[in-house]
Amino acid sequence: MLKILKTRFKQGCRTILFPKAKAPDLPQRYRGRPIIAGQNGSIDLGKIFFNPDSDIVYSNDYSMATSKREDLVLSQEREMALARALNERMLKIFGRSLKLRQVSAGGCNACELDLNVLNTPVFDLSRFGIQFVASPRHADGIVVTGPVSRNMREALLKTYEAIPEPKLVIALGGCAISGGIFSDSPQASHGLDTIIPVDLFIPGCPPHPLTTLDGLLRLLGRISS
């Protein structure tokens, strides 16, 4: 018992103060939201792979989640429109307590793992009233990862249908948003929003936990730009 307490004391409190305070700085090599200045044409955050060997120049900014699919397309003409808060009725229902069910539909397990990270003491997702639950019947929404493989389509739709109305749908990662790197495969779909309506798009390969947390909190009206 003493040993447990001693270790607990040594571990201390590790939870970041975000969003009350600025999030910890990300390393210089981190590839966040692309810099559009100086680029020709547009960049679709839902389709790029955030790989270093492309023509895209990346910034250190992790805020990238949007409410609409078209808002992920960045161009010179338009400022990025980050995710907006839900309407008043939805906020009343979900604002202080949001239970989510996760479905991996062909994901490579990177998005899944970095979503799990939100449950570690560093991010401590439950302090915002957001929790992942085991049954879709207990859920208010669904977080989908992966390019919706042909073999997972039915299981995904059944899970979606089992969630009571009103419900939220979140597409996490480039594969869920557009099919990503697998979009050329006959086994993959071309975006979750072609299958079910999506309320929040979180791009990345995989999205940094801060990108996901930032998106969720914007959706719940806890962060406004």
Partner: protein, 503 residues
Amino acid sequence: MELFNGGQISLSNIPVLTQQGFRARILDRCHEDARLVNLFGHLGTSGQVRLSAILGLDEEAGLEILSTFISSEAAQYESLTKDLLQAHLFEREIAEQWAIQPLGHPWLKPLRYHCNYRSATDIWKNIANKTIPGEYPFYAVGGEEVHEVGVGPVHAGIIEPGHFRFQCHGEEILHLEIQLGYQHKGIEPLMQGQDLKRSVLLSESIAGDTAIGHSTAFCEVVESLSGCIISPKAQAIRAIALELERLANHIGDLGALGMDAGFLPTSAYFGRMRGDYLNLLLALTGNRFGKGLCRPGGVLFDIDANMAGEFCLKLKKYKEEFQDVSDLLFSRPSVLARFEGVGVITPEDAQKIGLVGLAGRASQLECDVRINYSSGMWQFHHVPISLGATGDVYARALVRRQEILRSLEFLLKVLPSLPAGEIFTPAGPMKPDTLAVSLVEGWRGEIMHVGISDAQGGFARYKIKDPSFHNWFGLAYAMRGQEISDFPLCNKSFNLSYSGHDL
């Protein structure tokens, strides 16, 4: 014909045996000291399917390759599985991918539910129209008090999908059958073609938790085919990233094991500590899983003296923290009571199943690519093998703990004395009609990539094998005679990849 890790062989030099000769040679060698490392089909020049087998001679660091042709008319051969359990999933994969019947296979079922690759009639009618698990039989146990428990594909936590069918008598599991394929994305066909820039990105998404392991294997195949020799510094950076990946995953797994044993403090601490290593990968590569680091010809990110020093300082601190928390986990009687004697696989069974990686080592198998088939950095830095004695959850946890400490030692030794020089040597065109192999000891175990080049500078066939492909059957087997409530714990002790299996 002998091959070595990272080696290549012209297609015309691969011995072609008769079907009987092929079968006899594999059985003879595998009943002596060899192991079936890979068995796969690819198209021969005249349209028939060529089966190639790669046998591993662990003690000699050698690989033996042999092949046989299967005619398109009589698309069948005598199954190896009935005499060699290690061939079980390979033969099901071949049956599905190439519509070739392994005669006498004891449990012939689809693996991933897709149409075959040569536009022939599938062995299973309408295979791609059925929802998994489809209308195929599950191994069933009869009797009045026997009951069946079906779990998945959608599980309770944030994990990948798969279907588990338990045959139980009361709490006791008599048999478990695991049906996967839900994550199937058709990666192997996507890797074929000319666009290597896209293929390397795909290799990073075979199993996202093993991005470094799989992308290293891919790069080594391309480098072998193009005769590109990467710099010692690039080799060192790949090895460092591979060990960071191992550290992050092993530590996360120890946390998850604590959680399933009902001991939450260590699971919270390890869960956070896992992030420390991911953040080192982020600092190095710009991605928490190391995506974007390995490219054919070397690596895209350097480690300078400042970064090396900074990493060493942090790693020393992380090592202390790890020892602290792991002592706490491994000294709790309540945790040990849950770990010990659960999910045992004896060394004999492990060898028969063909377990690889940490699950194999926990059952006393001396299998570690870094030692048996050392290439790159591992030829100069010897990492001692970490073996378990008991083959149970405890052994799999203990092997992780040992490997964490050894990986940390390795990093602390290598980082301060990084070789100087370039990190990237552009790779030229690939030699046509040649087969190259690469083995990498990922954190789960032996990853093997096999690439066969075409005449146009791309891949005619690309074969990927994640260690999970060998080990899923081990998990099912370990559950026999256990209580059903032990399944989550046992499952975590293997922590296999669904995506890496389903491809």
